[in-house]
């Protein structure tokens, strides 16, 4: 659940020298609860009831910290301002063309592609799949040995 992921995020922040302030916690909480991908300003407005004196800079500063620690991802769609999303476990697969091995590859969902496809084709998009193909490190070293 969101609350567990939030706790994990708080823990991973504490393991570094990042301090837990009320504002910081509230921003995190909001990011993990919301299903949307809010802009910095939307986060700011959502929390100004709780923190009337909070500065927009605080939101930006914290989002940068969260990005550095890897618990938040910045997404830029076409529009003017960036959107922020707590990193989920969504992932894709990368598949070895030689041995068939499948490795998980974590990457935020390609929402932008879905949105654009929806607009361009007038389909009602439900899902997408993406796979990456290549040669795994083991098969690469086997190849180089065989060539020796």
């Amino acid at each position: 659940m969101a609350s567990e992921r939030l706790q994990d995020a708080v823990d991973s922040l504490k393991s570094t020298k990042v301090r837990m302030t009320p504002q910081r916690h509230a921003i995190l909480e909001f990011l993990f609860e919301t299903m949307t991908h809010p802009t910095a300003d939307e986060i700011y407005k959502a929390l100004e009831g709780k923190f009337p004196n909070m500065s927009v800079a605080t939101v930006y500063n914290n989002l940068r910290v969260f990005k550095e620690v890897g618990i938040v991802k910045e997404l830029s769609y076409g529009d003017s301002s960036s959107r922020f999303d707590s990193v989920t476990n969504s992932h894709y697969h990368i598949i070895c063309n030689d041995c068939g091995k499948i490795v998980d590859f974590h990457y935020p969902a390609l929402d932008e592609v879905e949105t654009l496809a929806e607009h361009v084709t007038n389909f009602q998009v439900q899902s997408h799949r993406m796979e990456i193909y290549g040669t795994c490190p083991e098969c690469m070293s086997k190849q180089s040995i065989a060539h020796d």
Copy 2:
């Protein structure tokens, strides 16, 4: 080749009421020749030798026109300013879950995902595939009739 695609672009512009000015042509030419995805400012700087009096606004104006006609695509990666790319023929497919219809969906190649996957997994990436699934407009209207 780039020159053919450029000519196509010029033709498709002429077929509308868009006039062909030297600045406009130079911006187009630059976009079709370069392999990079330049920012508006990079285009401006690249052409200020040829057009010392050109305004940045001209670059932005033209990029908007090109986008509207569909010969240029705006890409926003994480960084501050948008990048622009002449539209190539690379495309993906969107597939209807009801009737199986496949429609081409033009979108610049997801190079960023490949690059990231390569770094994270140490695979040597060769290719990727992506498909989008949804309901086509025809099947959607059939559904809404059936529900009446």
